[in-house]
C-alpha cells in the first residue's frame, strides 16, 4: 500500500513536470486544433467517429512519445538514484504512466466532443471492447519512447520519429521517387499491420473488437515487459524477456486466430453486432423497404425522403418495382437478405445528405426500379443491361439531374454529374443530346411528357428519337449506338475533353417491351 502511494506521488510529480515540459501541452493543443479543423468533416456514423478517434489516439501517442523522451533519457543517463526505496523499474514505469492522465483526459474529452457534436450522437453501435483500444494506443507512445530511450540513452528515437512525420506527409503529397515511395508505403503498411492486424476492423462487431482488444492489451503488456527489462541484467532481464516473449506469442496467436475466425470475405449476420440478438428489422415507408444496419435506423428516414424525391418525378406506378434498400457496412460484409427483389446497397459511410453520391445512388435505384438489373450476375444485381437509344436513358438522366440539382449541385459539377450518369447508362449520341436538352427545358414540360408516356418509357418501348420528336428537340446526331468520345465533347463542351465515354458497351441491350434484358 505504502509503495503504491509513493508510486502515485512520483507519477504525479512526473506528470507535473511533463505538463510544464516543451512537448505535452503544445502537442495536445496541436491535436485539439487538428480536431477542430476536421470537426466539420465528422460523419454521423460510429465507424467514422471511431476511425477519427483512433487517429487521434495515434497522434496523442506520438505526443506522449515526445513528451516522455526527456524524462526517459534522464532515467537512462543518470541512474545514480539506485538506492532509493522505489527502484528503477518503478521509476521508469512511473515516467510512462505520468504522461497518460493528461493524454487520456484529452482523448476522452475529444471523444465526448465528437460524440455529442451531432445531436443524438453518431448512429450505429459501438462495441465496448473497442473503446479501450485508442486509449491503449496512446499508452503505447510513452512506453515505446521509454524502451527506445533507455536502450539508446539518447534523443535519437525522437529525432527519427520527428523526421518520419514529414517524410510521411511528403510521401502522401508527392511522388519523390518510386523506390522511396515504395519504401515508405511498405513501412506504413507494416506499421498499420502492427497497430491493427485484423481484416474486419469494424467498431460494431463483438468478436473482432474483442480480438482487437486482447491483441492490443498483449502488445502493450509486451512493450511494458520490454521496458522493464531494458538494460537490466540477471533475474529482472530474464523475467521480463520471458514475459515479453510469452505476451508477443500470445499477440501473434490472437492475430492468427482472429483472422482465421474473421477472414476478409466473411459475411456477418446482424446478431454478430454487439448487443444485437437477431436480424435487424426492415422498415416499410410508403411502400418502400429499408433495411438499415443495427443502430442506423435514423438514417432510413433520410434515405426515404431523398429517394421519395426521385420517385416523386415519376408516376405512382414506378414505385411498384422499387428495390429493397439494404445497408451494408464499409468494414465488413453484412449477410445478404433472402429476397427475390433487386437490392439497392447503401454503405455506412455515405451521408444521406451528400449530393455527390446521390447521383449514382439515384441512378442505380431507378435502373433497378425499371428492371434493368441483371440479377444473375451478382447478389446485389449490380450489373445492368444497356438502354442506349431507349427514351428511358435520357429520362433517367433527367430525373437524377432534377433531384441532385435541387440539392445544390450546380454549374460544372452538375454537368459532370449528368455526364457521369449518361456514361453509366452507355448513352448514344442522341441520348446525350436529348438528355442535355431535357435538363434545359422547363421542368413541367418534360414532366408532362414523362408522365403521359410513362408505361412506354419504363418498358423501353419508346425510343429516344421518338421522345425527341415528342418534345421537339433538334438533333444533330441521331445514332443510337454507344456514343464515341467526340459526341461527349460536343454535348458537354464545358467539361475536360476525352474524359467521358460510354461504359459497359459489352453488356446486353435491354429489350424493348420488356423490363428484362434481351
Amino acid at each position: 500500500m505504502r509503495r503504491t502511494v509513493i508510486f502515485a506521488r512520483l507519477t504525479l510529480f512526473n506528470t507535473l513536470r511533463l505538463v510544464r515540459g516543451p512537448f505535452l501541452l503544445p502537442g495536445a493543443l496541436l491535436t485539439a486544433l487538428y480536431v477542430w479543423v476536421v470537426s466539420n468533416e465528422f460523419s454521423s456514423s460510429v465507424e467514422e467517429w471511431y476511425s477519427i478517434l483512433s487517429l487521434i489516439g495515434l497522434l496523442l501517442g506520438a505526443v506522449g512519445f515526445a513528451a516522455v523522451t526527456p524524462s526517459a533519457v534522464r532515467e537512462a543517463r543518470y541512474p545514480g538514484t539506485s538506492t532509493t526505496p522505489l527502484e528503477r523499474t518503478g521509476r521508469t514505469l512511473s515516467v510512462a504512466l505520468a504522461a497518460l492522465p493528461p493524454l487520456w483526459l484529452l482523448l476522452g474529452a475529444i471523444a465526448l466532443f465528437m460524440y455529442t457534436d451531432d445531436p443524438g450522437g453518431p448512429v450505429g453501435i459501438v462495441s465496448p471492447f473497442a473503446l479501450p483500444v485508442p486509449f491503449l494506443m496512446v499508452a503505447a507512445g510513452p512506453l515505446a519512447s521509454l524502451l527506445l530511450s533507455v536502450w539508446t540513452r539518447s534523443y535519437l528515437p525522437l529525432i527519427i520519429v520527428a523526421l518520419c512525420l514529414p517524410v510521411y506527409l511528403v510521401y502522401n503529397g508527392f511522388l519523390l521517387s518510386e523506390r522511396f515511395n515504395n519504401a515508405v508505403s511498405r513501412a506504413t503498411t507494416a506499421a498499420q499491420q502492427v497497430i491493427s492486424p485484423f481484416q474486419n476492423p469494424s467498431v460494431s462487431l463483438a468478436e473482432p473488437t474483442l480480438f482487437s482488444l486482447v491483441y492490443t492489451l498483449l502488445m502493450t503488456g509486451m512493450l511494458t515487459a520490454l521496458v522493464v527489462g531494458a538494460r537490466r541484467r540477471g533475474r529482472v532481464l530474464v523475467t521480463s524477456t520471458v514475459t515479453a516473449v510469452v505476451l508477443g506469442a500470445g499477440a501473434f496467436g490472437v492475430t492468427v486466430q482472429g483472422n482465421r475466425a474473421n477472414p476478409w470475405d466473411r459475411s456477418y449476420a446482424d446478431d454478430e453486432v454487439y448487443g444485437v440478438d437477431g436480424p435487424a428489422p426492415c422498415l416499410e415507408l410508403d411502400g418502400l423497404t429499408y433495411c438499415p444496419l443495427p443502430g442506423y435506423e435514423p438514417w432510413a428516414e433520410n434515405w426515404h425522403s431523398t429517394l421519395s424525391e426521385v420517385l416523386g418525378e415519376l408516376p405512382a406506378s414506378a414505385r411498384e418495382g422499387a428495390p429493397l434498400v439494404w445497408q451494408d457496412a464499409l468494414y465488413y460484409d453484412r449477410s445478404l437478405p433472402e429476397t427475390d427483389r433487386p437490392v439497392l446497397v447503401l454503405y455506412d459511410d455515405l451521408d444521406p445528405d451528400w449530393a455527390y453520391w446521390q447521383g449514382y445512388v439515384f441512378l442505380d435505384f431507378l435502373r433497378k426500379a425499371l428492371g434493368m438489373a441483371i440479377s444473375d450476375t451478382g447478389p446485389y444485381g449490380d450489373s445492368f443491361c444497356r438502354s442506349n437509344g431507349q427514351a428511358r436513358t435520357p429520362v433517367i438522366a433527367w430525373v437524377v439531374d432534377t433531384v441532385t440539382s435541387r440539392h445544390g449541385l450546380e454549374g460544372l459539377d452538375r454537368a459532370d454529374s449528368l455526364a457521369g450518369v449518361l456514361s453509366e447508362l452507355t448513352a448514344s449520341p442522341i441520348d446525350l443530346e436529348v438528355a442535355r436538352a431535357l435538363t434545359e427545358r422547363p421542368h413541367d414540360e418534360v414532366s408532362a411528357v414523362v408522365h403521359g408516356h410513362w408505361d412506354r418509357i419504363a418498358s423501353g418501348e419508346m425510343s429516344t428519337p421518338e421522345l425527341a420528336r415528342e418534345l421537339e428537340i433538334p438533333i444533330t446526331d441521331a445514332s443510337t449506338e454507344p456514343a464515341p468520345g467526340k459526341s461527349w465533347d460536343a454535348v458537354f463542351p464545358e467539361l475536360e475533353k476525352g474524359v467521358y465515354q460510354a461504359w459497359d458497351v459489352d453488356s446486353p441491350p435491354c429489350a424493348p417491351s420488356h423490363r428484362t434484358p434481351a
Binding site: F13, G80, T83
Partner: protein, 294 residues
C-alpha cells in the same frame, strides 16, 4: 556461521568479485553509531564496500546485515533504503532539474510524506549544506563543489540512520569542509556514518573508528589512537640522506620526515623519533601491508 544482530552494520566473510578479481575478499566488520573512516589506496575496495553497504551492489558471497536486516531480500532491502542516505563517489544528477526540484524528486523517491512535509525537508537540507539561496538554479549551472553539497543534501534527507559518504569533501573549499565536519559530527550523535576518503585530516577530525582496506582485505579495524600507537617509534625527522626504499619527504625547513618499517631503526644518526600523525600511521600501515602482501 551464526550472526548476532547487534550493530547497525555487520559483515561476515563478505566477498565481491568482478570476474576473477576480488574487490572485497572475506571482509568481517562491525560498525556502530558514530563516524567510521574508511581508508585505503585507490583500488583497495572502498567504493565496492560502500556500494555493498548502500545496497547498490550484492556481495558475491558472505553475509551482510544492515540496520538489522538482510539487503539480499527485496522487502528488507526496501526497509533498509528507507533509512539509508548515500552519497556516491560520482553523483550523477539530472542537469535540467533545479536544485529544489531535484531534492524534491529524491524526497519522493525516499518516501518522505506529503508535499508540504517534503518541501519542508528539502528546504531544511538545502540550508544545512548552504545551498538554499541557489535552490532555483539548475544543476548544470552549479559548480562542482555546489553539486557535491547538493549530493550531500540528498543523502541527508529524512535523517537517515545509516549515512554512507564516499569522498564527500572532494571539491569543497576549506570553509565548506569545516561546515561539513560540523554537520557530520552532529549527525553522528544518533546515526551510523561511514566516511570513505583520502583526506586523512577529515578522518582525524571526525572519526572515532577507522577501517583500512588494502587489496580488498581489512588491514586495520580500530580507533585512530591505536593506529597512531602502532606508528610510534617509526617516524623520524632529521637531516641527510634518508636512504633508498623508505617513505620520506622533504620538510619546508630542509629536513626530512622518514617513515621506517617495524624491523628498521633510525634512518641515520642525525634523525630523531617524533610523534606520529594519523597520516604517518596510515602510510606506514599500507606500506607495510603492501610489502607483506606482495
Amino acid at each position: 556461521m551464526s550472526l548476532t544482530l547487534t550493530g547497525p552494520v555487520r559483515l561476515r566473510g563478505v566477498t565481491r568479485r568482478y570476474g576473477t578479481r576480488a574487490a572485497l575478499d572475506g571482509v568481517d566488520l562491525d560498525l556502530g553509531p558514530g563516524v567510521t573512516g574508511l581508508l585505503g589506496r585507490n583500488g583497495a575496495g572502498k567504493t565496492t564496500l560502500m556500494r555493498c553497504l548502500a545496497t547498490d551492489l550484492d556481495p558475491t558471497s558472505g553475509e551482510l546485515r544492515l540496520l538489522g536486516r538482510d539487503p539480499g531480500r527485496t522487502t528488507e532491502r526496501t526497509e533498509i533504503r528507507r533509512r539509508l542516505g548515500y552519497l556516491p563517489q560520482n553523483p550523477d544528477f539530472y542537469p535540467h532539474f533545479t536544485a529544489f526540484a531535484l531534492l524534491d524528486y529524491m524526497a519522493v523517491l525516499k518516501e518522505l510524506g506529503g508535499r508540504r512535509a517534503r518541501h519542508d525537508e528539502v528546504r531544511r537540507v538545502l540550508r544545512q549544506v548552504g545551498l538554499y539561496d541557489r535552490r532555483h538554479s539548475r544543476v548544470r549551472r552549479l559548480s562542482g563543489g555546489m553539486r557535491q553539497r547538493l549530493a550531500l543534501a540528498s543523502a541527508l534527507m529524512g535523517d537517515p540512520d545509516l549515512l554512507l559518504l564516499d569522498e564527500p569533501t572532494v571539491g569543497l573549499d576549506p570553509e565548506q569542509r569545516i561546515r561539513f565536519r560540523n554537520l557530520v559530527s552532529h549527525l553522528a550523535t544518533r546515526s551510523t556514518v561511514v566516511l570513505s576518503t583520502h583526506q586523512i585530516e577529515d578522518v582525524a577530525a571526525l572519526c572515532g573508528h577507522i577501517v583500512c582496506l588494502d587489496g580488498g582485505r581489512v588491514v586495520f579495524d580500530g580507533a585512530p589512537g591505536d593506529l597512531v600507537d602502532r606508528a610510534r617509534g617509526h617516524v623520524w625527522e632529521g637531516t641527510g640522506d634518508p636512504g633508498i626504499g623508505l617513505t620520506s619527504w622533504r620538510l619546508p625547513d630542509g629536513r626530512h620526515r622518514v617513515l621506517t618499517p617495524e624491523t628498521a631503526g633510525a634512518p641515520g644518526p642525525s634523525f630523531t623519533a617524533v610523534e606520529p600523525t594519523l597520516e604517518d600511521a596510515y602510510l606506514l600501515l599500507i606500506g607495510v601491508s603492501g610489502t607483506e602482501g606482495r
